[in-house]
């Protein structure tokens, strides 16, 4: 627990409750900086370029992509798996770390959950546009129809994906919004009555007052949603990995895929959370809340999951050799030393080798250094999916149909557009919603604020006499306090 004196406090700057409110509300109700407009204009431009490329794809057809008879899945599914993976850190931080009572999650859970939702929106685009005829997307759904009562195929992992991803999106959204309601009420009560902001946040905060009964139910619902989200997040990427693992293709049909994909998803998600949170804490001046301790903790998770992914790479190679399957062995040698060797080695360097620098504490606590490494993680995890998909496909069972795959400008623009969509949504979120869970942060102030955390009993008494604390609180580790060991 973070109450022990050897741990660093989670909230710096001797904050009071009302300072937390002010720090989080002032960017929302205050004036928008020109930097926000410039950044949002750039991300929105990328987003619209992507939409244009999607429209072009739908108008002309999938032939505008670099796919061929042999490589039928490439950029589209790579992007899909990449974005789904990005989403996983949010649920991990908010649900799994909640169940493990990790308090450091509170500074980052709101933004990470928002990233989950936006990433799933980006991911959801790709299965739809890669069908070629997206207006028939409702064929995914098990609804009564006139095709001779033809139902969907419940044996297919692609159908399981439809259920998994729509459930994941819905539950993440509800979890996120449950936590947002009290904080939106906080913004509402700071806005001038009658102003547009007051009306807007009144509607959004659903009439929250913060009565004891409401909070009791809030905590019950949060805990159950966390309990539901934990197996859900593990199931989503497991099912995504079934898309590959249930096939008969060498390099895909491996039983290691579900845990390997989940570890990779958390790894890439933390990469993206680090990238955006390091910028957010600078831009919105939240360094007292998203402290070096937080960046340190996230870097450690990145290191651990990166090595899990690295271990999976090694296991795949070992099993390819140990299985004695000629085709399996060929595919893996081809991945590392075949025509796409460069993609494979980008993946290994970015995911396994470069994060090893996080063994050094000083580097974990250097925000700009961590930022650069997190970019490498993002690149590496994109290439991981590219390697898995394209290298397994491009040399199929028939030598005469071996083909190389090269993306066209349409596919690249759609990828850039998906980043634009993700970042534009994030910019809107950072502008109009409290990026840190304010109520939760207030609830841990007395145990994790720097003026309280890690005080010795003597220091506490001295501060209390001097009137610095002004509170009747007992320090958590006081020897007379029986509730704490």
């Amino acid at each position: 627990m973070f109450e022990s004196p050897i741990r660093e406090p989670l909230i710096l700057g001797h904050k009071t409750y009302s300072q937390i409110t002010t720090d989080l509300v002032s960017p929302i109700l205050g004036r928008t900086s020109w930097k926000w407009y410039v950044t949002t204009a750039i991300t929105a431009a990328a987003m619209f370029a992507g939409f244009a490329a999607i429209a072009y794809t739908i108008w002309v057809g999938i032939g505008t992509w670099g796919l061929n008879k042999t490589v039928g899945w490439a950029f589209d599914i790579t992007n899909f798996v990449f974005w789904i993976g990005i989403g996983h850190a949010g649920t991990l931080i908010s649900a799994i770390l909640l169940l493990f009572r990790q308090r450091w999650r509170m500074a980052i859970n709101r933004a990470a959950e928002a990233m989950t939702i936006f990433a799933v929106i980006c991911a959801g685009l790709f299965p739809i546009i890669h069908m070629g005829r997206p207006w028939l997307v409702f064929w995914f759904l098990p609804i009564p129809n006139t095709h001779g009562s033809l139902w969907v195929n419940f044996n297919s992992p692609l159908l399981w994906d439809v259920f998994a991803i729509s459930t994941y999106f819905t539950i993440s959204l509800l979890f996120w919004y449950t936590g947002l309601i009290p904080d939106l009420a906080m913004v509402r009560d700071r806005a001038r009555p009658g102003s547009f902001a007051h009306i807007l946040y009144s509607i959004l905060s659903f009439g929250w007052t913060g009565s004891a009964k409401q909070w009791q139910r809030f905590e019950a619902v949060s805990l159950v949603l966390a309990g539901l989200s934990t197996p859900l997040v593990l199931s989503v990427h497991s099912i995504v990995s079934f898309d590959f693992a249930t096939s008969i293709l060498p390099g895909w049909h491996t039983t290691i895929f579900p845990p390997y994909f989940v570890a990779g998803a958390i790894f890439s998600g933390f990469g993206m959370v680090l990238t955006l949170m390091i910028i957010t804490r600078e831009a919105l001046d939240l360094k007292d809340y998203i402290t070096l301790e937080h960046i340190d903790a996230m870097a450690k998770v990145t290191l651990a999951t990166g090595m899990m992914v690295g271990f999976a790479y090694a296991t795949e190679f070992f099993i390819a050799w140990y299985s004695g399957s000629y085709w399996e062995r060929y595919i893996f040698l081809n991945r590392a030393f075949g025509p796409y060797w460069w993609a494979y080695w980008i993946m290994v360097s970015c995911n396994l080798l470069i994060p090893q620098v996080f063994w050094i504490k000083k580097l974990r606590r250097s925000p700009w250094f961590v930022f650069i490494i997190s970019i490498f993680v993002n690149i590496g995890m994109w290439f991981e999916r590219f390697v898995i998909i394209v290298t397994s496909l491009h040399r199929d069972f028939l030598t005469s149909s071996w083909r190389m795959y090269k993306p066209t400008w349409v596919e690249v623009t759609i990828l850039i557009g998906s980043f634009g969509l993700f970042l534009t949504l994030y910019m809107l979120f950072a502008r109009f919603f409290p990026v840190i869970a304010a109520a939760e942060t207030k609830s841990i102030l007395k145990t994790s604020g720097d003026q309280y955390a890690g005080l010795s009993w003597e220091a506490y008494q001295a501060q209390k006499r001097a009137g610095v604390l002004g509170s009747v609180l007992q320090p958590a580790h006081h020897p007379d306090n029986p509730s704490q060991p």
């Binding site: 259920f163 459930t167 819905t170 509607i203 959004l204 659903f206 009439g207 007052t209 009791q216 609830s443």
Partner: protein, 168 residues
């Protein structure tokens, strides 16, 4: 519009002491509003345990049943398809969708129940005693006018930062 005597506390320890003192003086407390969840307050106010988690279980079970009956109806009863002689009732294949729908039903219906029992809906006018109750003050509201004088004394003694009568 009703009138309330409210006491504002700046610290949760003082709030808990204040609520306890009010209860000792048998003053009926109308409501306590706090900017963040205060631990121990629900026991102190003798609030009944929320039954939402139980409801979530029932909703989840409903999702399981819906998913299984839907898949069995579509795949086994309504239009069985012979795929290389494989089973018309491939139970393991039904598990992923069943799991997802269990979670979906449980989560969505519990969220809706949560809004319903809390009477929360978009655009509802918030009955706020003091704007600072979502900022840094914990509000104890006393509705019954005959107790106001006694309550005021308790508020003063337990360190309320502000005591006033408001119309909500």
């Amino acid at each position: 519009m009703a009138k309330y005597l409210i006491g504002l506390y700046a610290d949760e320890e003082q709030l808990l002491a204040g609520v306890e003192a009010l209860q000792k003086a048998s003053i009926p407390i109308h409501e306590v509003c706090t900017p963040f969840p205060v631990h121990g307050l629900d026991q102190l106010l003798h609030l009944k345990k929320s039954r939402l988690p139980d409801a979530a279980f029932v909703y989840g079970a409903l999702g399981t049943l819906t998913a299984l009956s839907m898949q069995i109806y579509m795949y086994t009863i309504d239009w069985p398809i012979n795929i290389g002689g494989k089973s018309f009732l491939p139970f393991p294949s039904f598990i992923p969708v069943t799991f997802e729908l269990t979670v979906l039903f449980s989560g969505v219906l519990m969220f809706l129940s949560y809004l319903a029992v809390n009477r929360l809906y978009p655009g509802k006018r918030a009955r706020i005693y003091d704007p600072r109750q979502t900022d840094d003050r914990m509000v104890v509201a006393i509705a019954a006018e005959p107790y106001w004088q006694k309550a005021q004394a308790v508020f003063e003694k337990t360190g309320a930062t502000e005591i006033k009568i408001v119309e909500v």
